[in-house]
């Protein structure tokens, strides 16, 4: 009790001088509600069960730690893809660098503009899925995002979008502390692909709420920066209706601290939710956390969680994944796998897989492994003349392949695979 009081007092003190962004129109009420949620729940501390493996301190302190900028000669990702580019520089929308916010099958606006419009669909979504996702586990940093997000993109998908939308987050200020909040509403039978790339900021809080209506399809590919010192907390909240599909893949290169929370709720029958991720981390200061919560609340749902991490030089990987099958969610097919490849004895992988099932006719499985590179396979490759360096690289890519295979668009897979190969060549 004393601890809980202490935590709430600390949160109160931390939020004492917080001012909600001005000019938020209908957003003002949603922000105030969200801030009240944060005050009730308290900001996370490392004593919280849900933050047992990841210290949230640097995500919650008032002043974000700086992150040095790292330039490299790799070109921007997805350059060859015909897409709608939307650029944020340290969280500030850059109209000149962005394309026109129009494409067939989608309506795209900035969050700031949407909030200034009295009657807007976004009002029914902003902070709504986030608030739903606060149970059974509190996610105060998500509520804080809803309260304080300065901008973001809201997308209504009305048909089959002809081009993917690419949110590009550039990082040019060593001390930037950025909060963005995006919304995607996929209407019945509509389809869209959302790409997100770039390191974004020294400290980045990013949240997306995704509503997928009946028969809709949402595809999400993220590639989070590389070789930089940034810290990030991201959240995806999705509500998935009957016959619809939600697929997401996240690739993370380095970054001091990254926690990606994904909260998916299948509310209609015959729906599919896949969430996958691959990360490569080098160094004692690398910490990567995938926290996933999938709720099945309908018949015949299928969910997959596939997470792979390559860790070296004392890097830490975390996976907390849960499948909750509610009463009546019969014929659920849930799958979860989390694996790490530890390239030395200093690195560590902490996994907490969970299943909670209240229906009696379901198939759910989970597995978690940690291992080193297979010496027999290494010898096999070397005995064919492949150098030790290249053999290690091939086997590492082989380890990551199952996660990369989750990406639908194979052109994107190839590009991300090339990036991984580049990273592995530099870090070995």
């Amino acid at each position: 009790m004393a601890l809980a009081t202490q935590k709430l007092d600390a949160t109160k003190a931390r939020l004492a001088d917080i001012a909600l962004p001005e000019g938020s129109g209908w957003g003002t009420a949603a922000r105030a509600d969200a801030l009240a949620r944060v005050r009730r729940m308290g900001l996370p501390t490392k004593r919280d069960e849900y933050w047992k493996y990841t210290d949230p301190t640097t995500l919650t302190v008032a002043d974000a730690p700086q992150a040095a900028l790292h330039y490299n000669d790799e070109g921007p990702l997805f350059n060859a893809v015909d897409r709608v580019k939307i650029v944020f520089v340290d969280g500030v929308f850059d109209a000149n660098a962005s394309d026109e916010l129009t494409a067939e099958g989608v309506e795209i606006e900035r969050l700031a503009d949407a909030m200034a419009t009295d009657i807007h669909w976004a009002k029914e979504l902003y902070g709504v899925l986030e608030a739903r996702g606060q149970k059974p586990v509190a996610r105060p940093l998500a509520a804080l995002n809803t309260a304080l997000a300065t901008d973001g993109i809201v997308v209504r998908v009305t048909g089959k979008a002809t081009k993917p939308i690419n949110l590009i987050y550039l990082h040019e200020d060593e001390a930037s502390d950025v909060i963005l909040h995006n919304l995607v509403k996929v209407e019945a039978g509509a389809e869209v692909t959302l790409l997100e790339t770039g390191p974004a900021a020294a400290r980045f809080s990013k949240l997306v709420e995704v509503e997928v209506a009946e028969g809709g399809k949402f595809n999400h590919i993220r590639a989070q920066g590389r070789d930089h010192e940034r810290r990030a907390i991201t959240h995806c909240f999705a509500r998935i209706a009957a016959n619809s599909t939600y697929k997401s893949f996240t690739l993370t290169f380095n970054g001091v601290l990254t926690r990606n929370e994904c909260v998916l709720e299948i509310v209609g029958d015959d729906a599919v939710a896949h969430v996958a991720g691959a990360c490569v981390g080098d160094g004692r200061d690398f910490h990567h956390d995938d926290t996933v919560f999938v709720t099945h609340d309908a018949l015949n749902g299928e969910s997959r969680q596939v997470f792979k991490k390559v860790l070296r030089n004392g890097a830490t990987g975390v996976f907390q994944g849960k499948i909750l099958v509610k009463e009546g969610a019969q014929k659920t097919d849930g799958y979860q796998i989390s694996q790490s490849l530890l390239l030395d004895e200093d690195s560590q992988f902490l996994a907490k897989p969970e299943l909670e099932i209240y229906a009696d006719d379901v198939a759910c499985s989970h597995g978690s492994t940690s291992g080193a590179i297979d010496e027999t396979a290494l010898f096999y490759l070397r005995s064919r003349g492949v150098s030790l360096h290249d053999a290690r690289k091939l086997l590492t890519l082989s380890f990551l392949a199952e996660a990369l295979d989750e990406i639908e668009d194979h052109n994107l897979t190839e590009e991300l695979r090339d990036r991984l190969e580049g990273w592995l060549s530099r870090h070995s």
């Binding site: 396979a377 086997l395 295979d405």
Partner: protein, 251 residues
Amino acid sequence: MLKITGLKVKLEEEDKQILKGVDLSIEPGMVHAIMGPNGSGKSTLSYVLSGKGGYEVTGGSAALEGKDLLDMEPEERAAAGLFLAFQYPVEIPGVGNMTFLRTAVNAQRKVRGEPELSAGEFLKEVRGKAKSLKIDAEMLKRPVNVGFSGGEKKRNEILQMAMLEPKMCILDETDSGLDVDAMKLVAEGVNALRSEGRSFLVITHYQRLLDHIKPDIVHIMADGRIVKSGGPELALEVENNGYADILAEVA
């Protein structure tokens, strides 16, 4: 081609001597076979020659065309012309068979200072060789050895051998797990590669493989040594009478 003199090997982790002084010399173009009971050290010999970890050489030498093999990394031995067809080929998910083959061929070419094969040249060559081993395009596309049957795995080993064109080929129990038809196919693949400049060391338990790959010389290995050498008739003797007689004779 291959000259092994007094080779003594123990396990790195245990105080267990496996090879107790092996002497073996293989001339270019020759096919030698090694037979012997389980645990005699046959597979260890193939691993030590190709550079697998976990063994410690405590004496003797092994040279390929005069170059000290034991001093080289496994990939250097491969580039020098040594090839081991594995008894249990390794599955590598996520790496396509073609990618693997091309990486291996080009890695060796690079070490030897030869230009790398372009994708087109490589494809042409691999298709021709795969066809004679009845390896179809689908098998080439699949991840290395993943989901392959026993026979497919061994054929894949021979395909690698054909692509890498080694000088000294060691076949470690290539006949294990093969039915008669598969064994014939593999043997044909091997026979097609026989040439004046290429030598073979065929390790096997059974004489039947040697019906298809005809050896020039047969060695019997027991307790870490080669205890008897002779012509192909020695393999027949083993087949008919087992090892007991021979071992009693040399003891």
